[in-house]
């Protein structure tokens, strides 16, 4: 006898457990097969069904059953091939016959642990609710007692400083004929400082990103600087940089990251004598908001020849960066040394700063850095930051929201009178709902000197499908349907680097205008309103109290 489990399909999942259910319309489908071919996870397949129809012809009912074999597109119920809702099938369908639909009842996480392997993915925290950043409003509007400015007419300087800034009392200045001059004899170290646009492209590595994506970003950033006069900088992420770029004059628009795997640094060190420009800065990555306390992982399938060369490793091996820098056990010593040696490598001409994930302990890090005269900034990546690959549990459950983390740090600096000395860079969920400029401005008014974006620019410039309903998020698999996070030429040839660059430029130009539109009515134009917390309010008393801003309703 056949076991009952087979007969009643027990132990098989129903489509109801899946996060996305495919709506396929028999009447519209012309069976071209494009959707099934393009699906990155093979969640749908062409198959045949037997259809039994009953026919009756003539005046009297004389039913006859007809059996027909028909072709259909069917969603599989295999958890390894779950539909990610990416919508690539919809995109290629000539007849609007197929579409994924989000299923809020899904039990996806219950099952996504086959072979005891927890669910790994890319993207950011799957929380579609309105973030604190999006709840912040700008409520100090200049009206009559102080005229609002004109975003189109007045001169705006939407710029910030990256680098350690000396307290005014310690400036090595002397007076000569009634004018201030720098006292060269004082021997005082003047740290390097860059004037940049306050929104920067955060660290996304060559390797995690496809060649056209990385190139597109880089071209866009170079264009913004060279043609548009918008000094946007971009961080390389861990894994080095294309060798030609290292030796080019465009290097000055890039922040080179060093992380716990030190990937790519062999190449960078060798390129040092040939560099014609200094990089914008060096970022030492200690943590990432998307996966706090966790290391990096570039899956073997993404380690193709170019990547292997840049990183200085063999092809097709998993490249994992440990969760911590193995040699660093104390912030006072080892981290300070790392900052110093990086500074030394470029003759103390390049700002060097650490990046950490948002954490309750951020202030301890901050206070240590505040005492280290070589620390150029602190970048804090909040829980809503994105990644190319991480455990789902790290993404969804670990980390600290950026708003209160930045505010605490800023207010701590204010207490010490050092808020202008150590710039804070905020990241993690900036532009999550598309409000890039507003989120950036809000963070600046809470105390950030600059913000960093990653996921947002993938979405805005390369149409990344990912969202907070776990749509797509295949970035770790090398099967990115948009060609953004893959090393597979078949996939990345879908992405046009020029178009990405164009979108980067458009995005930043629009953000620049929007920032002015925010600052103008608040009467600010000459300097970035860092810490102008009286400009902000929120419709939640507890949050207002926590952030030390106004409560307005």
């Amino acid at each position: 006898m056949e076991p009952a489990t087979r007969l009643d399909h027990n132990h098989q999942l129903s489509l109801r457990e899946f996060p996305y259910i495919i709506r396929w319309r028999d009447d519209r489908c012309k069976r071209c097969g494009k959707c099934t071919a393009v699906c990155p996870v093979k969640a749908i397949e062409p198959t045949v069904n037997v259809q039994r129809t009953v026919h009756s012809e003539g005046p009297l009912p004389q039913p006859t059953a007809v059996r027909k074999v028909i072709q259909v597109v069917e969603q599989v119920t295999d958890m390894e091939r779950y539909c990610t809702g990416c919508g690539t099938c919809t995109l290629v369908c000539p007849n609007e016959a197929i579409e994924p639909e989000y299923n809020p009842q899904n039990k996806f996480y219950h099952y996504k642990n086959k072979s005891g392997e927890p669910y790994k993915r890319g993207g950011r925290r799957n929380d579609p609710s309105i973030s604190t950043l999006d709840k912040l409003k700008f409520t100090r509007i200049s009206m009559l007692t102080d005229p609002a400015l004109d975003a189109g007419r007045h001169e705006f300087r939407v710029r910030t400083l990256l680098g350690r800034i000396l307290p005014p009392e310690e400036l090595p200045l002397k007076m000569v004929n009634g004018k201030l001059v720098v006292d060269k004899e004082s021997g005082r170290f003047i740290p390097p400082v860059r004037e940049i646009f306050p929104i920067m492209v955060g660290s996304m590595s060559v390797g995690a990103l496809s060649p056209p994506m990385w190139e597109g970003l880089a071209m866009g950033v170079a264009y913004l600087n060279e043609v548009e006069g918008l000094p946007v900088v971009m961080c390389s992420g861990e894994g080095g940089m294309p060798p030609r770029l290292l030796r080019s004059k465009y290097l000055k628009y890039f922040i080179i990251q060093i992380a716990s795997g030190y990937f790519g640094w062999d190449e960078i060190i060798h390129a040092l004598p040939h560099m014609v420009e200094d990089p914008a800065a060096i970022e030492i990555k200690y943590g990432q908001g998307a996966k706090p306390g966790d290391g990096g992982l570039l899956m073997a399938q993404k380690v193709l020849r170019l990547i292997a060369n840049i990183r200085g490793v063999p092809q097709f091996v998993d490249l994992s960066s440990p969760p911590t820098h193995q040699t660093k056990y104390s912030i006072e010593e080892a981290v300070a040394k790392m900052i110093q040696s990086m500074s030394m490598a470029w003759g103390f001409r390049v700002p060097v700063y650490p990046k950490i994930s948002g954490t309750k302990t951020a202030r301890a890090v901050l206070n240590n850095l505040a005492r280290n005269p070589f620390a150029a900034a602190l970048s804090i990546d909040g829980e809503d930051g994105g990644t190319g690959a991480a455990y789902n549990v790290s993404l969804d459950k670990m980390g600290h929201p950026i708003a209160s983390n930045i505010r605490d740090c800023y207010l701590d600096l204010v207490k010490q009178g050092k808020q202008n000395e150590l710039p804070l860079i905020a990241a993690g969920g900036v532009g999550k709902k598309g409000n890039l400029a507003a989120n950036a401005a809000a963070l600046i008014m809470l105390g950030a000197s600059a913000v960093s974006i990653g996921k947002y620019i993938m979405q805005a410039a390369a149409d990344c499908f990912g969202d907070e309903y776990n749509r797509c998020n295949l970035c770790n698999t090398g099967k990115c349907p948009r060609g953004i996070t893959t090393q597979d030429p078949k996939l990345y040839r879908r992405l046009d680097a020029d178009r990405v660059a164009e979108r980067v430029v458009e995005t930043f130009k629009a953000a620049d205008v929007e920032m002015r539109k925010i600052f103008a009515p608040m009467g600010r134009s000459t300097e970035l309103p860092i810490g102008m917390s009286d400009g902000l309010s929120i419709e939640d008393k507890a949050m207002a109290e926590r952030l030390e801003i106004n409560y307005a309703c």
């Binding site: 000396l166 001059v181 720098v182 000459t526 102008m532």
Partner: protein, 369 residues
């Protein structure tokens, strides 16, 4: 918007001149208050130039506290002036208005001026702290050769109230502000001009960058950077910080509050220093709308605008007497006989300075410096 009337002269004159000038600008202030700061005093204070003068208001109870306090701290009363109050409608009189010259405590006699200044300021702050909760003591300034008067009401009526038209109170530099009450409840400590250790300023307009500036100043570890009942008080403190604390020449005040663009800095001879100054003092950048009139301890008076010149301001006069006003009509009232074509309306890059004794007027241009 507040109205401002400053006059600097090589002869002693009465504060009524300022008040009358304010009267011509009456449309701009709502008579909610008057602030007066007199420097380089004549009349009965002329012989007390060396001695610090405390100006303020107190209740009877406050007066006892004040006397005890000053005695305990070794200050000896040398001379006292009280306004000859004439009760006028619309002005609620407080109990005791005073300007008192004191002699320094013995232990301070030989100390440097800087140390004396710190003592005076700290004394003022302590008294403020004692008297503020029950409003029993208000101390506006405590410094040699300077008197400050503040009260709520219409300036002209207040002039009459204080008997300034009859009194012999005279000075060579007098700043007056006719208050337009906007953001804050009428509170005496929120009334311009503000004064700290020989530096004084008054401003019209609001200060949109107030919070970051206040936080930066309060982080300097200098006890005098406190109060901030008005967003304009920071202008005085920035002036004090730039010139006294950092030791920069006065013109750098302009560079601090309205820093140049990077490309403009590159054209300046002092560009290397200026770049550092701009970075390190970034939070002190103002965004207007403000016109600031101020004086420094040596008696130099100046006027500057925010970088967008969003507020009016005019300077005019003759050698020996200049008026710095928020409106041209005020200048007309104060120095009617002058060549009007030579009046100065400082633009965004300008800083107008008038040397002590109203000797000469200069326009310093930030771009061409």
């Amino acid at each position: 918007m507040c109205r401002l009337a400053a006059i600097t002269s090589n002869e002693y004159f009465s504060p009524m001149e300022n008040i009358l000038a304010l009267e011509t600008m009456k449309e701009g202030h709502d008579g909610s208050g008057l602030g007066l700061t007199l420097k380089d005093l004549g009349g009965e204070f002329e012989e007390f130039k060396e001695f610090p003068i405390m100006s303020g208001i107190c209740s009877r109870k406050g007066l006892d506290t004040l006397d005890d306090f000053m005695k305990k701290h070794g200050f000896r009363l040398k001379h006292e002036w009280n306004p000859k109050i004439k009760h006028v409608k619309g002005v609620v009189s407080r109990e005791y208005y005073f300007a008192r010259a004191y002699d320094y405590p013995k232990s301070y006699k030989e100390k440097s001026m800087r140390e004396k200044e710190d003592l005076l300021m700290n004394t003022r702050l302590m008294l403020r702290k004692i008297g503020e909760p029950d409003e029993s003591i208000f101390v506006f300034s405590f410094y040699p050769d300077v008197i400050t008067l503040k009260e709520v009401g219409d300036p002209l009526q207040l002039g009459e109230f204080f008997g300034l038209d009859r009194d012999g109170l005279r000075a060579k530099i007098i700043f007056a502000q006719g208050r337009q009450n906007t953001n804050y409840a009428i509170y005496l400590y929120a009334c311009h001009p503000f004064f700290i250790q020989g530096f004084c300023s008054m401003t019209n307009g609001e200060n949109t960058a107030f919070v970051p500036i206040r936080e930066f100043l309060m982080g300097r570890g200098f006890p005098g950077y406190t109060g901030y009942n008005s967003d304009s008080e920071v202008f005085t403190h920035i002036l004090h910080y730039t010139v006294r604390q950092l030791g920069f020449p006065l013109t750098y005040y302009k560079d601090v509050i309205t820093p140049l663009k990077t490309t403009e800095i590159d054209q300046r001879e002092d560009r290397d220093a200026l770049r550092l100054v701009k970075q390190s003092l970034r939070p002190l950048c103002i965004d207007g709308p403000n016109m600031v009139i101020g004086f420094t301890p040596d008696g130099t008076c100046f006027m500057v605008q925010d970088a967008k010149k969003l507020r009016p301001g005019a300077v005019g006069g003759v050698k020996g007497k200049y008026a710095l006003m928020s409106e041209e009509c005020g200048v007309d009232k104060a120095v009617p006989k002058r060549d009007r074509t030579r009046d100065i309306f400082p633009m965004k890059y300008d800083m107008v300075t008038i040397s002590p004794q109203a000797e000469e007027v200069r326009v310093w241009n930030q771009l061409r410096a």
